[in-house]
Subunit: 358 residues, 4 copies
């Protein structure tokens, strides 16, 4: 399924080494003067080629708007973006035409469809995620019309290097100055050097992104089967290389007692708040007004610059070695993707809530 959402929907198309990546946003409210430079800025945050620790594939990732905006305002009709592929070096992939790269989607696409575009992962390439960043950038601007919502992600761990404290707002605002997008400059430095050493070794590494959403009022989110927590989880687990998701206390919460874990209520002015926030801002699938926060686990990049055993379509043994340009660690570049998915989920559930409320 290449469409995401119920009332605010994102449909994407295009492959890594085809003509480009396309994006269709449906359900966006009309009358909004989209800030195009803010959309480009989000794309730039995801863009490769910005430091030694990301792929050297340099693509400007510039979009063209093809519909849905007239005289500077959204019209309520589908907004489409087109991002042409420019630096596709498909020949790098010829050796993969018949072989399956380990821990990629080559084999499963072949099994499912009986054919595949093997160049750069085709549709399964992380290049598709730029479409999500565009969708999220638009969603953020719509959210901004509903409330003062802040969605901020950061790299909280790379391999064993971990930032355990919650960052301050100042640190968060400046974390994109760090190539690794970790708000603690000392830990960021360590992460950077670790990733660089991994890159030199032709290897790759994973990590965790933490995301915090501020400013969501209580009451947003569906109960039972489309819980805000479940929708966020599905959105994150749909990002390439993601293997885990936890909200609030997550797996750590399984080692706590109820008397430690329960978030006790108190009144603060007009608001009902909780002293702790092990719930991660969501209870029963619905926002409670506290910060929504969650963590997303990324496995190490599957492509490595080392020879690996594999098989071809006939099951014959082959030795594969990564060619082309790849990220030794996708986590830093994934921060805007995580934020984007969160923004779309939140807006969609907010719209559903508004639609049903008298």
């Amino acid at each position: 399924m290449n469409t995401f959402g119920t009332l605010f929907t994102l449909t994407t198309f295009g492959e890594s080494h085809g003509a480009g990546i396309g994006v269709v946003i449906d359900g966006c409210p009309s009358g909004i003067a989209l800030d195009l430079s803010a959309i480009q800025a989000e794309l730039d945050r995801r863009r490769p080629g910005q430091s030694r620790i990301t792929t050297q594939r340099k693509e400007p990732d510039q979009f063209v708007i093809q519909s849905g905006v007239f005289e500077g305002l959204t019209t309520g009709t589908p907004i489409s973006f087109w991002v042409p592929n420019q630096q596709a070096r498909s020949r790098d992939y010829d050796h993969l035409a018949k072989a399956f790269r380990p821990s990629h989607a080559d084999f499963t696409y072949q099994a499912k469809y009986g054919t595949r575009d093997y160049r750069g992962g085709g549709r399964a390439s992380a290049r598709e995620t730029l479409a999500r960043v565009i969708g999220g950038a638009v969603a953020k601007q719509v959210l901004g019309r509903l409330s003062h919502v802040e969605i901020q992600g950061w790299v909280s761990s790379i391999h064993q290097i971990e930032m355990k404290e919650e960052p301050t707002s100042f640190e968060l605002d400046t974390s994109f100055q760090q190539a690794v997008r970790c708000p603690d400059p000392i830990i960021a430095e360590k992460m950077y050097h670790f990733i660089d050493s991994i890159r030199k070794a032709g290897d790759s590494v994973g990590g965790v992104i933490t995301c915090r959403v501020r400013g969501v009022p209580p009451g947003i989110g569906e109960p039972i089967y489309n819980k805000l927590s479940a929708a966020l989880g599905a959105a994150m687990l749909g990002i390439n290389a993601v293997k885990g998701f936890e909200l609030g206390s997550g797996f750590t919460g399984t080692r706590m007692k109820g008397s430690e874990h329960n978030d006790l209520f108190y009144r603060e002015g007009d608001r009902i708040r909780t002293h702790t926030n092990h719930s991660g801002g969501i209870q029963g699938g619905i926002s409670n007004g506290e910060d929504i926060y969650f963590r997303v686990a990324f496995k190490p990049t599957a492509t490595i610059m080392q020879p690996q055993e594999s098989v071809d379509e006939q099951g014959e043994s082959v030795i594969l070695e990564g060619k082309g340009r790849h990220d030794p660690c996708v986590v830093p570049r994934a921060v805007p993707i995580v934020e984007a998915m969160a923004a779309m989920v939140l807006l969609d559930q907010w719209m559903i809530h508004r639609g049903r409320r008298l």
Copy 2:
């Protein structure tokens, strides 16, 4: 949203202390002789009142089929089940009419809807999950017609007590003899006593369920936004008290290098297999034929038998203390729910796959 799935759908209704819980299954193939005792057996696995460590609310949870089955065969029309509530002691909840229990959904439902059925959590009660168990029991029977699929969950940790090894098939098949549903009898014993001590202290505790799905051929699952992994994650994160989900290597995988994490392919007879299975049986959102396995994190039960600070609807301070009958640990009873959700997700994606395949 109270409906789950695309082609095989589950719609549920009913509150904890209302007339009963209703289930509508739509899209079930026709001509199946449903094994009703197998459905009842699944319900019984979830049923409370079976040992000291679960709530003493004793409900037979017997269902009536109200439609969709004729002369013993499914007809292709909606199959509905009705499970009446019998032992509802609503008076236990009178003191909650105006107060919000910590870490329950009381406050968020009130915030969203402006009103709520406060008796036993109303719609947010875990009692709704029996509907999922019924849906999953039907899905398992349909899956059995497609292939030899085995879906088995077990309690792999309670608080800090953890079973790290993967259980043998024998252990799994007998794990339901253990009240805590942990297949290692020695660890199960520890867990049991720990939960019982927690119960005596009026406290509660969380844990982790691991689930393994065997026998799914390669090629099942949607790419991009409804990935099998994302759909499983959403299904699990929609279960009451779940705060985390990880597939395959999960969060541990974030601390591995690509050279360690990649699952190398080899041929085994006709099949293409992988030596390791850090992917958890899913690559690019699509099954690869290896065991699908994932872990689900449950927080400690919110209701505890200790006084807790809270507020009422006016924000005034109140002291609440759990009354009624509650589980000190929901994890053992949640095993069949996890399996049921997995069965429904898998069948639904399998149906989508069959529908689009020539």
Copy 3:
């Protein structure tokens, strides 16, 4: 598919001669004091056994609410209704166990599912439509909170007997005093006697229902593929025995010139209105503030009290003759069904509109 709608959804289950008919309404706003007698009144309008010209099957069609309402208010959770079947005389259908009634759904259900509940049409029975009347009755009450909307249908033709003029409000309000639900008492009398003569001849007859919706503001309805007109059409074409739908000028409009057909705009106070209303209140799929009106064609009842040729499951010739109790004309009883479907479509599209509007 047994679920209808996007944000306001109706799921139904149950067969004509099974335990009963069930209804689940999801997405209904919370805090509404449902007027249960108004729901019963709508059901009574659809109920058989009210005059010589409808089936003599006498069923009170009394519903029980099983969830979603607490202390007299909707809670925002699924509202379910259960209407037990009481007077099912299934033995009347034994002769149909293996034979296909002409122009019924017996053969197509058998072809699709390989099995069927042959008693009284099973799931394909018009008895299912009482679920829609309940859904519509709830939708009407919600619509009443959004605006002063009036949805009124009437029988505008039976066979060749036609009421061509648009009825006055007075006539409409009193049309349910007529057994045939035609607001012109003289034409109603003719229709009644015609249907009665058809009944005596053991035959059946069709007719047309016209429906008018007043009070919908401009701007409701989706563009392109879920146009308000298309959604209304699908809703009506999903009613048993319906073979046609036309909005505004409909088929008559195909014989007009643009200069005659165009609805010219003018200003009336604050409103922009049209002099004529060939558009039927919808332009480009979106309401324009004029009356929405449309016509629905019902074929003659398939069951007749005359011997008819048919075949059994082996294709062998059989002679069938209607038994049981049937309507010689379903059109009068279908008026509340048409209104109900219109109410649900309108509310659903209104909710979508509200959800996306800033």
Copy 4:
């Protein structure tokens, strides 16, 4: 909503005078060698500028495929088409920036969205329908892999000029040689001259398209709320200028008795067939194996070359006169659109059927 379908989906974007029209087809089976010239041929059948009786806007309507096809085969990923707008003379529409053309969607889009792209109707332009023709052309090719299905539409009436007999296959196959797409050459001639006279008078006219689908086996179609008949109706009522839909006997059937209308079954070789086909090939929402046939009513084109009264956004009176290039009758060009929508509906329901069938 700009997406159509459940398993085989069409998403479209783009406005009449924007950059172009885009199409995304999702759910198309993999491994199909799309016949691109057949797609272009369908587009050419819809294309304007082919005779005196259609708009003189000459556009080649040539598409580019942007994704989803690799080495000549569909890959199972979204297939996207882009059709640039070339001959857009937007200045023709400057006078409409603030005024509402009668019986167009100008006013309703303004009411719904508070803004609109007024050039050529923007999103509401019939130019969007080329996207549907592309989607239908792909669907036809997939259907051809499932069975020998023939979908053929023709113009059966223009104003009062009507072709009452069903055309022979030979006539149908040659009807596209007629500018008016009526298979009877004598009636076609009359229609042509009538439309031409209407054109000279600066007026417009409507008509009816009949469509016949052959080769669908019994059992395709959903029961109750997504009946094949309802889905076809919604698809047709979503086409610009459509005001009515009837299946089989349609409105004429309302004037028949059951004894005349019922389609009696008989056996023909292995098949169970009906002597007559008033049902139009669908009973209870499910195909019965007979020809599916239906009629679609098109109102006269709203744009006429005569002065008409209207109002501007402030409600002030204005006189509008059609400029630009318009069809005096859209019906001939709409034939491939009707066929395309039928193909997509049929394929989608067929896929759903296959998905749920064991």
